[in-house]
Amino acid sequence: MIKRLANRLLRWYLHPDFYPDISGDLEELYLRNRAASPVVADWKYMLQVIVLFRPSLMRTFFKNSIIKDTGMLRNYFKIGVRSLLKQKAFTFINVMGLAVGLAAFLLIQQYVKFEESYDRHFADADQLYRLTTDQVVDSVLGTRDAMSFAPSGKALVEEVPEIIDATTTYKFGGLIFRKGESFVTEERVIAVDEHFLNLFTYEVLSGNTASLLSEPNSLVLSESKARFYFESQDPVGKTIYLQDFEKDFKVAGVIADPGQNTHYKFDILMAISTIKERLDQEAWNGYNYYTYVKLDKEANIDNIRPLLPALSKKYMGDDNTLVFNLQPVIDIHLYSDLTFEPEIHGSARAVSFLNLISIFILVIAWVNYVNLSTARSFDRAKEVGIRKVVGARRNQLVFQFMTEAFMINVLGALLALGLAELALPSFNNLISKEILDHAWNDEGFLRNVGLFAFVGTLVSGVYPALVLSGFRPVMVLKGKFRNSKQGVWLRKGLVVLQFTASLSLIACTFIVYQQVSFMRSKDIGMSIDQIVGFRGPRSNNENFATQTQKRTLFAEELKNHPEIKGVAMISNLPGGGSSDVNSSSGGIKIVGKTDLLEATTYVLQINDEVINLLDIDLIFGRNFDRTRGADTATVLVNESFIKRFGLEVNETIVNEKIQFGKNLENPKWNIVGILKDVNRSSLKNAVEPTVYFYNDAPPQVMVKLEAGKYQEGLDVLAATWEQFFPNAPLKYAFLDERFDSLYQEDKRFGAVFGAFSVLALVVATLGLFGLSSFMAIQRTKEVGVRKVLGASVGHIVGIFYKDFLSLIVLALVVGAPLIYLGMNQWLDGYAYRISFPWLFLGLSLLIVLAIALLTVGYQVYKVAVLDPSKTLRYE
């Protein structure tokens, strides 16, 4: 491996005339060394190749270039090294700043690239669209749903010639598989038809590609699942037992693992013909399927979209408010925000925010170089003068200073590579994604490191090089040198820029944290402490009544234990995603009080213990009561439900009736009570208008444990479960953890933001440290004179502070509106948001101020305490 690399290198640079015999010599030596140790032989080979890198043996690379002028070039490097070594603090600050800035920038860029790469790896990815379902009432767009009707894909292929293929898929909520003697819950199983792999071009590793996924009761496993179930054996033709279907499924094939960068993740594919009965039954009645279509290469989506409303009417009926829509698959991860997404999607906004931070950090590092090198121009003015006097041309001086910038940038880039490599595990952890294993051997990353070493040289090097090379020798050597007014202004401007960037980042971090902690601590209208939730077992061969009865008995048994405070059952556990709820889009009205309202109404089924267990306020009316037989025709509603009709929430609503749909024969439901609004999901979304139906034993079970005895409670739960459902695994989660996981993305965003803001601040502080040190040293004599005339140390520090304070105030003036606008917009993405926290803007200002004053103060103090008799003795 190393030898091959070395040989490639050799072949690249060596003169082709010399290559055959020299490589022969090397081979001979290599064979001799290999007898002792192959590894050592490899490295010796490499070493020889490196030592062979000499001008007399090289082929011609550049004709007539400056590189050939090696004498001057060598001189530039020599001078560069000397000046970098002479000003160690300056070099250190610049190299460190660039390294941190570049490492942060490149890591974030890697992440941004990853987020943008979602679903682009399929062949013809730009021709793939997801069929979604919009609700449009009186041409007002209502809820947009990611799902569609089962037959719709096929219908579109028939109706629209530009749509050449379609696949219908169904996502299971988790199925129980048997592995040997134990049971495994597979969360990511989807049922798909045989077209699926035409659209999503996963590589088929084994199995007959043509017939894959067409036969009922057949599966296609991902590579890692195949290994999990069958280890090294060939899984094709073998069977796996599925508890939920109570039969064996045949494994028809194995495909490559779907990567992390797809919005529709799965481990196992099932032929959708297995659940054909269900598809036929739902047909055009329920849209619970993800449908994807592929457009012809020539097709234009804008020509297809206008056809969709008519088609929707044709298949779903004239009076239907649902409309097909097509959404590019490559946009789903970052831009889609529909209900019932298959996973918590990424956010284009978060990505662009991060992008912005990374640019900030890098710019801050570059600004450091510009500021520090122009600030110390005084030191080098004489050098420039002498060089010019002895005949240096200006472009030679520019080249010399560019060489220095280049050296610093290259050092910074190398260190950045090391830092990135070290920080990678924490970075992966921070973003909870494995975007990169190693930085040092990733081609793209290395290319970027190289690229930015050059870009950085140009961006940060050009201005100082022009300034430094522009001094007029007569002026400089006469000693009449002063910093130009423009230069000072530019430097001050750049410092303001740095302060503004740091201030904004810190303020934004605070605001993000504040919003997240607000959402996590806000009263959601119910009490979720000490409650575990899990799904009751499902079984296909026991009928519905038996299952319900078993669940009820299980609940009653649990209640007999003192460690268990209560048990309640509900159709969807609180703390689920936005799609973890049922809904009805058929329109609803309160009979005799309102007209039919075409809007989505959310539906939960609860038993009569849920309200008490979750401690939800019943504002008017009464709770369900299982002893009343009539409660099967009653509902509870929440405040939002009433308010959406434009009605006031009061007791007159109680005992009114609601009716779904247009058909006047539809059943009417008596409202027996009104519940306070509760947030069943993330506070990003407003409370949904919800109707609660009564059900004796809905599938999800919530168990409230006695405070302080929760371990015992869990033991009781596990034992009782084992006793009732010995064949099913028990998987429970605490409700507060479920809620917390809803804010994962936000928390992660906050953490990433925070970490990089601190880095930005560190880099900016480094720069300030260097800058103030130069300024203080340059004004040493002034300080001496002031001291002689009676100024105190405090007074002198104050004079310096005045300069920097005005810069910080300016940064605040520039930054505050930007922060306000940017963050207000970000906060507007949340249904429940904090009002703009001016306090935190102040706090961020204090932090920046404190750091700046400490840094500057330290440098000035060092100069101010010097004995004037020493600083002034040469005057």
Binding site: P20, I22, G24, D25, L31, Q48, I50, L52
Partner: protein, 112 residues
Amino acid sequence: MKEYQLGEFEEIVLLTVGVLYPEAYGVALKDEIEGRLKRKVSVGALQSALRRMESKGYLHSREGEPNTERGGKPKRYFTITAYGKKALDHSKDVRLALYNAIPPVALDFKFT
């Protein structure tokens, strides 16, 4: 010396090429120099000296048969040209003349 430029290492290589006649090629030269002078010689240093002297005309080279032991690569055998011989003679003469010109007293060490 202006006529015949010959560095110290170059001279050693040139002499060794003579010693190994007619089998002087890279690895053999390296082994020989390392054996006689007890110093490490890198392929790079050796080869660049050889090529430099070839272009100056001190050395002549010919390609040998491809050899499987060397990954099917040919050896390149070097021989001293007449001009190379002159350069060696010149360098030897100069040194000898200098050596002989040292007054005997300078070599007459006394330990006091």
